[in-house]
């Protein structure tokens, strides 16, 4: 390293460190913390430090012990859990503290933002009633002042109409607003530490970004230390000063974000880095390229799927709701078409129409040249023989009382394909295709992990050897590393068997990795469509731009400064 390089490196470090007083004791110091349930140790000798006003992210897949650590810090371990080691908060050892003396800290000095905002608010009480309760923790006896404090905090967390929110019940607010309320309640007593357990995993991408922005802003404005728990390395890298990577309750790697993120040392951190779709848009290029060639040559051929001018309305409580409005797209054989958009944009209704589970009001849908409209159930069955579906949530799409072998064989039994031994052979083949061993044949879904379940679901849709598979957010319930495995399975199946996919997702980074063509949906309409390159490198609609911007880039501050081209579009939008 040349001397001047070293100088700039030091300068950059100083810049990211920020103007904090040197050599103060850290706010939170965790030293050889272990947590066990009975004889089973789930967290093993974990140690880290978090300075005042700093942020630290705990990263790992489910079961890595990251939430357990958060619970241990808050002393909220479920019964049977036992924590040993040292946890110092504000120079005070808290693990040994009697509950009576810890309680004043929880909620006041240590705030908590839960994972699922839908479960964290009491549905039968107004937001205001719950907020006043939280504000009472601050010790303010006067209700009028407390209410003013609450309204001020609601404005601070970006709720437009604090009084309306104050008077609402939780179900009258969207998920993003609920999470803002919870963050507001957490920062109301001005805690010095905020623990956020996957605060955005239950929310839409664009809302996800706004909530994370809010957390970062509050952290700086109020000088709160932030302990962020997430499975997404890109989010963590974007938002935290330092990272702790966990696997099976053991720290794999820890250090400054810039160091861990740009040059991970441990094998696990490297794998995590490689598995984040946002950071590796061309990871599967070799598997995906055959599809692009098909796309180029497909111009003259009839497409595998043709959806033309389809509209579907529902009547909800007397109001007519247009769920799908004049939607058209076509998918050439052997390629992947992605439908992207936020929840409520009509993606799911579109694919239910495509599967024949709902009938469109107007418009036509053709699969492999066959029209779906007006078919009886019997003739729909013959369509399903070649058109299969993979559900979003593998925890509900497999019958819990059936064994893997029965589950995968079911379509063969129903369509009466082959003899008994041929069926058994095809079941084994399908399971091998998705990378599952024969020892799982006699297991029930309960005894499988989430990733294994989704593989079983994919194997079940493959066993008929269909031409088209419709996938409804097949990885959104799964960890990043499991998602990478599933995506790889899907793409290699496409490369080997020439399958056509319709892929529904709100995760644009993932779409960029695996799709060939994309339709962006907003409020039931397709606002923009084109090849992956068109949409991602040259978006024309502001909505697409905002979706693209919410992809976590892994670089702090980057996502908040739009690309010059994107900025131009946003300005046009403002003028218009």
């Amino acid at each position: 390293m040349a001397p001047q390089d070293r100088l700039t490196a030091t300068l950059r470090d100083a810049e990211t460190t920020g103007p904090t007083p040197w050599r103060t004791a850290p706010l939170l110091r965790v030293d050889s913390l272990s947590v066990s349930y009975g004889p089973h140790e789930v967290v093993t000798r974990v140690g880290f430090e978090l300075g005042r006003g700093k942020s630290l992210a705990l990263i790992g897949e489910s079961g890595s012990g990251k939430s357990t650590i958060a619970r241990a810090l808050l002393r909220l371990l479920p019964s049977g859990g036992r924590a040993t080691g040292r946890v110092e908060f504000d120079d005070q050892e808290v693990l040994a503290l009697p509950e009576r003396r810890f309680r004043p800290l929880r909620g006041r000095a240590i705030g908590f933002v839960p994972q699922d905002p839908g479960n964290a608010l009491n549905p039968v009480r107004t937001i205001g009633a719950q907020a006043l309760e939280a504000a009472a923790l601050g010790g303010e006896p006067d209700t009028v002042i407390r209410k003013a404090l609450v309204l001020e905090t609601f404005a601070q967390v970006g709720l437009d109409n604090p009084q309306r929110v104050y008077d609402s019940y939780p179900h009258e607010l969207s998920g993003g607003m609920q999470q803002r309320v919870l963050i507001g309640l957490a920062v109301l007593p001005r805690p010095s530490l905020l623990v956020a357990d996957e605060p955005t995993s239950a929310l839409d991408v664009t809302i996800q970004k706004r909530i994370l922005d809010l957390l970062s802003r509050l952290q700086h404005e109020l000088d709160i230390s932030l302990l962020l728990i997430t499975h997404d390395l890109a989010i963590a890298a974007e938002r935290a000063d330092s990272l702790v990577v966990l696997k099976d309750g053991v720290i794999q790697e820890a250090g400054r974000t810039s160091a861990v993120f740009s040059s991970p040392a441990s094998a696990y951190a490297k794998k995590l880095h490689a598995d984040v779709p946002a950071l590796n848009p061309d990871r599967y290029a070799s598997l995906r390229d055959p599809g692009f060639r098909l796309l180029d040559t497909a111009a003259g051929n009839a497409p595998k799927i043709e959806v033309s001018a389809v509209t579907k309305t529902f009547t909800v409580g007397g109001r007519i709701l247009t769920a799908v409005d004049d939607v058209s797209f076509s998918v050439p054989a052997g390629t992947t078409h992605a439908l992207v958009g936020e929840s409520g944009s009509g993606k799911t209704t579109t694919i239910r129409l495509l599967l024949g589970l709902e009938q469109p009001d107007t418009g036509n849908i053709a699969v492999a040249g066959e029209q779906l409209a007006g078919r009886s159930q019997q003739s729909l069955r013959s369509v399903w023989r070649h058109l299969q579906f993979v559900y979003q949530n593998p925890f509900t799409s497999l019958d819990p009382t059936w064994k893997v072998e029965q589950l995968v064989r079911e379509p063969l039994d129903r369509f009466k394909i082959g003899t008994r031994s041929e069926r058994a052979e095809r079941v084994r083949e399908a399971l091998a295709n998705v990378g599952l061993g024969e020892h799982l044949l006699s297991r029930k879904p309960q005894a499988l992990s989430g990733g294994q379940r989704q593989r079983v679901a994919i194997a079940r849709s493959l066993v008929l050897k269909p031409d088209v598979i419709v996938l409804d957010e097949p990885t959104s319930a799964l960890d990043v590393s499991v998602q990478a495995e599933i995506v790889e399975v899907l793409l290699s199946l496409q490369a080997n068997l020439g399958l056509t996919y319709v892929f529904v997702s709100h995760d644009l980074a993932l779409v960029r990795q695996l799709a060939h063509t994309v339709s962006v949906m907003q409020r039931g309409r397709i606002v923009e469509h084109g090849t992956v390159a068109d949409i991602f490198d040259n978006p024309r609609q502001p909505y697409t731009v905002s979706l693209l911007q919410s992809i976590p880039s892994g670089v702090a501050g980057f996502s908040r400064v739009p690309h010059p081209h994107l900025r131009r579009i946003i300005n046009q939008e403002k003028i218009a």
Binding site: W384, Y391, D399, T401, E410, A457
Partner: protein, 282 residues
């Protein structure tokens, strides 16, 4: 048919659970009590050398002792022997009652929940009518109509339990019918009947099983009550309820009531404990 198959399946899982899970001591004790009761009903001769029908008049109304564990009755018959020999009839009639309740109630609930529409409406009104009549009164009416006999008492008890099973089954079926895996099976070419028998029924019956076990205990009580009132087999039959009924005429010799009552209570409590445990482990 289907009932038999779910029955055997449940027995296998119960066996598996016993070895796989750590069974709480009270549950183990309950299983021991039930095992003893079943053994009594299958081979009563192994547990006692006395005769249940022929007594020794000289030994009448003796208190409990090493020779006569529960004492003897007014005809000098060993009460323990009579309880043991009465088990078969009590257990069999309780099983008949549970079978009728599970089968008829389950079928009504399954069809009402799965087919919906007017089928649901018709069955729901029928169930409402059944629920509106007090259970015990309904059993008494039925047994009066079809004749005094332990089997008839069992049938009456079963009919009075139909409504509860229908209600539970219907709500479980409606819950399961909306599950994602049911739609998945439909997309994989499953017909309505296939989905009903292979997906909905097994999932819905998972919560009916603990109820059936609970109902077994309840049926023993109801049948004993009917026998007590004289709606069961006449003496010299020795149903538990009948034994209590006869015992009440000899208030100076309280073991005649206490002994069969204790056996009945122990059995019912054991069954309830097992049912609660089953529901928890599921």
């Amino acid at each position: 048919m289907t009932l038999a198959s779910t029955d055997s399946a449940s027995r296998i899982t119960v066996g598996g659970r016993l070895t796989a899970l750590r069974v709480p001591p009270t549950v183990a004790l309950s299983f021991a009590v039930i095992a003893l009761v079943i053994a009594w009903s299958l081979v009563p001769g192994l547990f006692t050398s006395h005769s249940p029908a022929i007594g020794i008049p000289a030994h009448k109304l003796l208190g409990p002792s090493a020779a006569n564990w529960f004492g003897t009755d007014h005809l000098g018959r060993d009460l323990y022997t009579r309880v043991v020999y009465g088990t078969a009839s009590s257990v069999r009639s309780a099983l008949i009652a549970v079978f009728i309740g599970v089968f008829a109630g389950g079928l009504i609930g399954l069809l009402a929940g799965f087919l919906g529409g007017w089928v649901d409406i018709v069955f729901a009104r029928l169930v409402d009518v059944l629920l509106a009549i007090p259970k015990f009164l309904l059993a008494v009416i039925i047994v009066t109509a079809i004749g005094f006999d332990t089997t008839n008492a069992a049938i009456a008890t079963g009919v009075s339990a139909v409504a509860v099973f229908a209600r539970v089954m219907r709500s479980e079926v409606i819950k399961t019918r909306q599950a994602t895996f049911v739609e998945a099976s439909f997309l994989q070419g499953g017909s309505r009947w296939h989905i009903l028998w292979r997906h909905v029924l097994p999932n819905a019956s998972r919560s009916v099983l603990p109820l059936a076990v609970l109902q077994f205990g309840d049926s023993i009580l109801v049948i004993a009550s009917l026998a007590f009132l004289g709606y069961g087999d006449p003496p010299p039959a020795s149903d538990w309820g009948l034994l209590i009924s006869i015992g009440k005429d000899y208030l100076k010799w309280p073991w005649l009531v206490y002994a069969p009552a204790f056996v009945t209570i122990a059995t019912v409590l054991s069954v309830n404990r097992i049912s609660r445990w089953l529901r928890k482990t599921d």
